[in-house]
Symmetry: C2
Subunit: 322 residues, 2 copies
């Protein structure tokens, strides 16, 4: 099956992006169980919360507690999304390993979303960098700061975003101290050829600091886009268990790429994700318990593993999880 | 948008593969309307029926009438699926342009499906070739005979199919007079790296007679697999409007790749399909009218065209359909 056991990192972002896209609030206890189940399946990167005003997003009011639980796993890399300096302060106090700050490359989207121009977001980003460095100089662990460039592949408000704008904002984020550049298809408009072009554009600016891709599956191209990104050297991808938060069969669908389907594709191609598909699929039960009636998506969970695949998957389960 | 206006043929197979996968029978009048709507959207290749015993598949009892309607369009290439010599005789009488004969590369699947070994199916295929040639020598139009190799990417009964078996059956089909080799992921088990490997394997045997791919979207990889096939030079793909006949969220999902989503991906990559997406999406109304309550799938139809895409699509509509 495998002639390429290159590692690919899959970051489970359902606890953040998935949950913030549904109207209901998942009780903290279930978030803990979700983290436990994902960890048991072999997931070692999770974006578990965002530090935003609880009035705006009550789903994330327990961010500190959730992160504290995630940090009980020694080898779990824990990420939080942070839109501003106040959030960064709370994130630092939480002990999180990585902070993702969203920076929209579309002025229209940026103003609508955070009431700041991209340039003003870069200023806020530089302030976060300073905050992190000050804490680090005072002896705290050095938190990684990720510039999550959003609406990179198109914006529902302004349409296509000029390549020059994307390159300029990537450069500004690096100048402001980004450790990593991530690209987000916030609005689910990315298409395969474009994905390759924009990866090369941003790599020209960011080199190997361009690290990860965040696709939504709004138009069914999430995995095709992932495939192109793999071909262009990307080895880190975000995804949500059960495609939580999206609805592929309803208008305005915005769900992330489905974690199970993504891991299946990667496994089938011989990439090593460290994730056991059988346990990953089983972990959907936590969502079903926590959010009764909430639609859960995913092809693999419904169709099951192909016969020719099962032996390999079980072998990998025993290797990864002893 | 487009730096590559290479042509890609999308064959609408919903009238055959889609309809034969659902329990209900679509009245002939709606099949005619579907053909009209697909034609109006720019579709110029359709597999509209199969010649199988009406007792087994009452959905296809009106094959002759449906084909007669399709043939009223001068520039529409009309295909029928034919499993045996009797079906081939009926197909010839219908005036169809192309006959696809399914030949399973899995012995277990072949026996279960047509009660013949692959070798016996090759004999039947050779007999169809003789029938066609005899008719052609007597002055009839020369019907193209396509060997549709099925379960190429895996079989639910026997698991993986050895490469040697696939190559041997492709060779036998060519020796028996196949004009074209098509590969079918009958059971929805194809994965991207494997797709590339098997295309190269069969091309080694069939050269440019390897022409078209038929993917199912059982595990969400239909478009990713298509992308790999494009990279390996394939320019013909089967698909079903609204993914008819499949159910991505139910066990045993078997639907074809969704035509709208496939055309969207191809358009976005600059390929010329000749198909107008706005009209194609509108044509789903025929299915909704004909099969009330039947689930219709597809990401694009729900999410709509991205803002940056609309102008291009409308331009192409006016070019294609005057």
């Amino acid at each position: 099956m495998s002639d390429n056991q290159e590692r690919v990192v899959v970051t489970e972002v359902g606890m953040r992006d998935g949950l913030q896209s549904i109207a209901r609030t998942m009780p903290t206890e279930f978030k803990r169980r979700w983290i436990d189940a994902a960890y048991a399946a072999g997931v070692r990167h999770m974006e578990v919360a965002s530090f935003v005003p609880p009035k705006l997003l009550p789903q994330m009011a327990d961010a500190g507690e959730v992160i504290a639980h995630a940090l009980t796993y020694d080898d779990l890399i824990v990420t939080a999304l942070v839109p501003n300096l106040k959030g960064a302060q709370r994130a630092l106090e939480s002990g999180v390993h990585r902070i993702v700050a969203p920076i929209s490359v579309s002025t229209a989207h940026s103003l609508a979303n955070v009431r700041k121009t991209p340039a003003e977001m870069i200023d806020a980003f530089a302030a976060m960098r300073e905050l992190i460095d000050t804490a680090s100089n005072a002896g705290a662990q050095r938190v990684a700061l990720i510039a999550g460039l959003s609406t990179v592949f198109g914006c529902t408000l302004q349409g296509a975003v000029p390549h020059a704008d994307i390159a300029a904002i990537a450069r500004a984020a690096l100048d402001a101290g980004a450790d990593v550049i991530a690209l987000g298809d916030t609005t689910g408009e990315a298409t395969p050829r474009q994905v390759g072009e924009i990866i090369e554009l941003v790599r020209g600016v960011a080199g190997n600091k361009l690290r990860s891709l965040h696709f939504h599956d709004t138009r069914g191209l999430g995995l095709a886009n992932t495939l192109i990104a793999l071909q262009h050297g990307i080895r880190e991808f975000d995804a949500s268990l059960a495609g939580l938060g999206g609805c592929p069969h309803a208008p305005g669908a915005t769900g992330n790429v489905n974690t199970e389907d993504l891991v299946f594709m990667l496994d089938s191609m011989g990439y090593d994700t460290g994730i056991d598909l059988v346990r990953l699929i089983a972990s959907r039960a936590v969502l079903a318990d926590a959010l009764p009636g909430e639609p859960l998506y995913g092809y693999l969970a419904c169709a099951g593993l192909p016969k020719q695949f099962t032996a390999t998957a079980q072998l990998s389960a025993s290797q990864v999880l002893q």
